[in-house]
Amino acid sequence: MIVPTDWVLTLSAVLFAIGVVGVLVRRNVIVIFMAIELMLNAVNLSFVALARSRGAVDGQVVVFFVMTVAAAEAAVGLAIIIASFRNRATVNADELALLRG
């Protein structure tokens, strides 16, 4: 059951692009965060595919680290969202534009 590597890389490209569109189009901060996770997963997919085509497990270990960093980032990011929600009662990115003059 051999899957051609470039098919997997194409899927990874499509998922990454969907994630980028999600970050650009949606206004809900949590959904933007989920689109970022989607992008990270697309990258994981291409790491795994290329690791298999090389026959080495280094790519899979990198995926392990990406997952760990994504977990840490999700925890801290969601805590920030909760803290800012307490003050502003909104998760709309347009209304959270604190730096706008």
């Binding site: 470039d6 689109a35 989607l38 805590a79």
Partner: protein, 170 residues
């Protein structure tokens, strides 16, 4: 046979990813992301990365997404209203066309990579022993640094999310 299965999984994954990005209800988006992660784990199994597939479900679909769902329920988010306001229509068209262009570019670059012919992978490839051996010998320093990173993240999340204590009025 493997290729046909992969095509089916790829179509389902793209549909689930589009649901994540397009559905107005954040809870349904989160569930669609869980489905995407599960399907990606199945693709990992097809690519003989068994340990990473199990870790994907345990860590990503089983812990990180539960955290997302907790936060969504805690904040009691309802469905997003369709955004109004000037500039949004133009922005959306630009974003979508940019996304399609990006997908095409990345796909072209990806297919151009001179990937080696996928021969038979070494025995035990993708199993726990092979990944662990590489992790604890070649990647030992990043592994230890990751533990510090996780500690920092846990402390940071607890500090950021706890309620402010009111100073005593006495």
């Amino acid at each position: 046979m493997g290729a046909a299965l992969f095509l089916l999984l790829a179509v389902l994954t793209v549909v689930a990813a589009l649901t994540v990005v397009l559905h107005p209800n954040p809870v349904k988006s989160a569930m669609a992301l869980v489905v995407t992660l599960f399907l990606l784990a199945v693709v990992f199994v097809l690519l003989e990365a068994h340990m990473i597939a199990a870790l994907q479900i345990i860590v990503y679909a089983g812990a990180i997404m539960v955290l997302f769902l907790f936060v969504i329920m805690l904040l009691n988010l309802q469905s997003d209203e369709p955004e109004l306001g000037r500039g949004h229509g133009v922005q959306r068209v630009l974003a979508w066309s940019g996304g399609v262009l990006l997908a095409l570019e990345l796909a072209v670059v990806a297919r151009g990579v001179p990937a080696a012919k996928v021969g038979a992978t070494p025995a035990g490839y993708g199993g726990a022993v092979a990944v662990a051996k590489s992790l604890y010998t070649d990647f030992l320093l990043p592994f230890e640094l990751t533990s510090i990173l996780l500690l920092v993240a846990v402390v940071g999340a607890v500090v950021l999310a706890q309620r402010q204590r009111r100073p005593d009025v006495s």
